[in-house]
Every structure is written in C-alpha cells, then in structure tokens.
Amino acid sequence: MPRRAGPCILASPHASDPRRGRGRRSVAARLAPAALAVLAALSALAPAARADTPGRVVSMNLCTDQLAMLIAGEDQLHSVSHVALDPRASAMAAEAARHRINHGRAEEIYLMQPDLVVTSTLSARHSTAMLRRLGIPVITFAPANSLEDVHDRILEMGAALGHEDRARAIADAFEENLARLRTTAAARPSAVLYYANGYTLGDQTLAGQILLAAGFSNAASAAGYKTGTRMPLEVLAMTAPDTVVTSRRYPGASRAEEIMDHPVVQALRENSTAAAITDHDWLCGTPHVLRAIEKLVETRRALQGDGS
C-alpha cells in the first residue's frame, strides 16, 4: 500500500506552482501555501490512507481513458480500454500503448484489483454493476455535450483521481485557448455534419458545438435536428448547406458509410475546396477538441476565400 501513496505527495507541488493561472485565480494562488500545509499535514498523518487518491485506476471507456491519461499521476493509471489504442477513434493512441489494455469486461477488470474504475455513464451497465457488487468503486462520467462540459469533465476527473490542481490547470488552459479560437464572425457559412447511416448532429452535441465554435452555423439544427438523429438524404439536399462535414472511414466496407459517397453528398462537398472530415479529435470531451476547432477554422477560411 505505501507504494500507492506516492502520487498524492507528488501532486501537491502543482498547487503552489506560480506559473499556472495568474490573474483571476489570484485568490487561489494566495490560498495555495495554506492548502499545501494542510495537505502536507494530512500526508504526514496518514500517508497510506488517502482514500481520494486511488493508487491503481482502470478506465473502461475511450473518453475516460483520454481524460485519465491527461490527468493521472505517474503509474496511477493501470489500464485503459482497447478502443484507446485505435488511432481512428483515439487521439492518444500512442500514450495508450504504454498502458495495460482492457476490453471492458468485469472479470478482467476485477482481476486487476483496481482501487477505482472510471467509465462513461453510457458504457456497459452490466459490467459496472457487477464491479460495484464485487466492491470496486466505480465513478461514471456523463458524455460531454458541449464545450462547457469538457471543462467540467476535466475537473471531475481531477477530483476522481485526486489531482484537482493538475486538472484545474488543464481546464484553465483549455478555456484560454478556446477563447482565443472562438470567433464572433458575422458571416457564418452553413454546414451539416453527416455521418454513416445519414446520422447528423445538431447544436446540442459536442460536435455541433465544435462546428459553432469554428464559426459555422449548423444547417441541420436550423432544419430542426437539434441533437443526434438520422437525417434523410433528401432533407440534406433540400437544406443545401455550404458544406458537408463527414467522418473518417473504417477499414472494410459498410453500406452505412456508403451514404457519404452518394452523389448528393459529393455535390454538396465539392463547393468547398477543403471539405472537412471529422476524426478522433471530435469524439471525446477532452482538450483535443481544440485541434478539431483549429482545423475547422482553416476549412471555413478556405471556404470563405479570405484570410480573415
């Protein structure tokens, strides 16, 4: 057990790191030494009994995998899901390769004897229920549906892993960069996110928010598709957006993805020189969405044919 107490002590110096977040967190900065003192006292009292810094964490979901990899301390994150290895879905495939891999099954995760399991509220309920019955603490994270959610999830993961300060720093950096990228452009070209099976995503989704942040307007939302639903190809054609953003293909063939080759989608995409394709940066509420916004801003500028 003492081996697992390491990360919590390592974590405390971040609290007083003066380079991080000056300005509006000056109160926090002033309180930091006090907090550090309290932490130190606590650590001195019971170094191995800190319940809020789990020593061995297992993540079962692609999005919690990435948040945990960003925030967890050295050797704290024991295992991530196999999806995190897939570069098509995971923005951190290389990092994931350094961890043990699980397949989200209760049995294998129980045998890892984790102190904490983190996963999404959407992932296999049977597995998480089984783990709870076996006495393993499980924290579930709701999927991020907006950029505000991204900020919140980072903080939640920080709290779950006992690295609040590191999470706070990441969340603040995210907000800062997001504010820099966000555009208040008056002329917003319209776009539709159009995926396999004719699935579209409206404003009330993370991908929809990425689209808005990059200065597009979501034509699907304007046509009444607020969340994620199927949008008939005919409706897409009648909506006639300035561009259509599709998703990256998986290997092997599927009829579901064939729709992105349909002449209607191709006709709508040829208007824009740099027709965008969503990738692993779009899937999860992590700071990687900033990269997605950045690329999409470039697409918009190319579409509008100016350098503004």
Binding site: N197, A240, Y250, G252, R255, A256, I259, P263, V264
Partner: protein, 327 residues
Amino acid sequence: MSRLAIALSLLVAALFAASLLIGPAGTAPGESLAALFAGDGGPLTLVMREIRLPRAILALMIGASLGLAGAAMQGYLRNPLAEPGLIGVSGSAALGAVLSLQTGLAAAFALALPLSALLGALIGMGLVMALAGPRGGSLTLILAGIAVSALAAALTSLVLNLSPNPFAANEIVFWMMGSLADRSFTHVLLALPLMVLGALLLASVGRGLDALTLGEDAAGAMGIDMRRLRLTVVTGTACVVGAGTAVAGAIGFVGLVVPHVLRPLVGARPSRLLWASALGGAAMLLAADIAVRVILPARDLKLGVVTALVGAPLFLHLILKLRTERI
C-alpha cells in the same frame, strides 16, 4: 391477355410516378416533376435526379427481375413454392456480395460486386437443385432451400461480424431483408448489365416451359433440350437475383406472390406468366418501397418486412392447398 398487359403497365407507370413524388422532402408534385425534367440545378433537382429517380428505377428493375425469376423457376420446377428468396438463392447471392465487399474485391473493379453475387447465387441454386433433384417434390425443395438459406445467412452474419468495420455487423438486417434507401445511379449501373442478360435468358424459356407442362418426355418429343432449358433457367435466375441482391439485399416473397396471383389471369400458361410476373413484380416492389417510406419515413424500414407481411400468409395458404391436394 392484352387487356392484362395494359392494366399492369398502367399500374407500374402510376406506381413509378408515385415513387418519384413521395419522399421526406415533401415538395409539391408539379414542382418536383418540373425539377426532374427541366433541371435548374437547384436542390430539388438534386433530390429528384440523384435520390428518387435511381430509387424508383431500381425498384422497377429488381421487382421485375424477381417476378420473372419466380415465374421461370415455378414453371421449370412445376412447383408453386419455388422462389429465389425462399430456396436460398437470394441469401447465397447476398453472401457472395458481402464477401466481395469485405475482402475488398468489390473495390478492385466495377462489376466485381454483382459478379460475386452472381457466383453466390449460382452456387446456391446449384446446391438446391442438386439436393432436391430436377423433379424435386415440394418437401425436398423446401428442405433443401431452408438448408441453403440458413447456411448462407449464417455465413453472411459471420463475415459481417468479423469485419473490422464497426457498422458492418448492423447491416446483417439489410442483407437479409433488403432496402433501396439512399441508392444512387452507381447502383443502377452496377446491376443493369447482369440484369439485362438474365432477363433475356429468362424471356427465352417461355416455349420450353409451356412444353414442360405436358411432362418432360412430351417436352423432349417436342424438341425441347431439357439440359439447355435447365441451364438457361438456372443462369438467368442467378443473373437477375445476383444483380438485384448485390445492390438492394435479399428481398423475399416477390417471386412467390406475384406469379401466384397472376397465374389464373394468364390461363396458367408459363410463357405468358413470365412477362406478366415481370410487370407484376415491378408493381409489387414499387408499392412496397412506397409503403416503407410512408409508414416509417425516417427509419429505413426494410423492404423484406413489407413483402413478407404480404407473402407469408400467402405462403401458408399455398402449403394448405398443396396438402389438401395431396391427401
């Protein structure tokens, strides 16, 4: 006879027009037709020319070929239960198509997909014919059909489950039930060559099938080459079913229902049933494709659901009739 031809042609034309005018975009009929023919390059033209027209043409082509194949097979086997879907030819064609898609063969050259489906259909058809025998009774034919269908369905599911594509496994339903949603002219062009070839082959067997109603010996005495007739029926059916299944999945019951309904109207002559069933099949599939769009516009209800709802009761009726005839 010519009255039936005119009536069926009018029905097909009306359903074809309805198929063009019904869709989730919900535009006025006059406006839609103007956009189809005039073509101002606006969004409605795109909808009419790239979405609804290929869909209606495919329904027409595939319906006609399934009706034709059903009539030819029933004529050749002299068994009203013979149908490409029921005896596993469609299922085998679907397996061929899925294999060529998942192995990447379909991407290698344009006609690889329908040709693979043709090969699957030929193997399926050959298996059923070999198992049931050339003069197979209803029971052996249906049993052989069930065996081939089940095997083809299981292998199709296995291939789709093994695919690295996460969407593929969900498409088992498409390959089993068939759908024309979001097809384009690419698919029309893929299916057309083999379908025309198969239809020409099947259209040529009318005289042979007529002679066959008198029995194989009598047909032989009339100068019908039985081996050639068999080869033509098998190849023609495999061509049309393979081409249709490759682009729209396995659609069942059309080849069963249509010849059954039309047989009394053509005086039970197989040669006349061939063209009548082609028209009737086109009408049935156009109607089914309109139904799936009207009942659940946004959900891509599968065609096989509608055709089975019509076809399964009729199938039961046929079995009961056959039983009373035998006993």
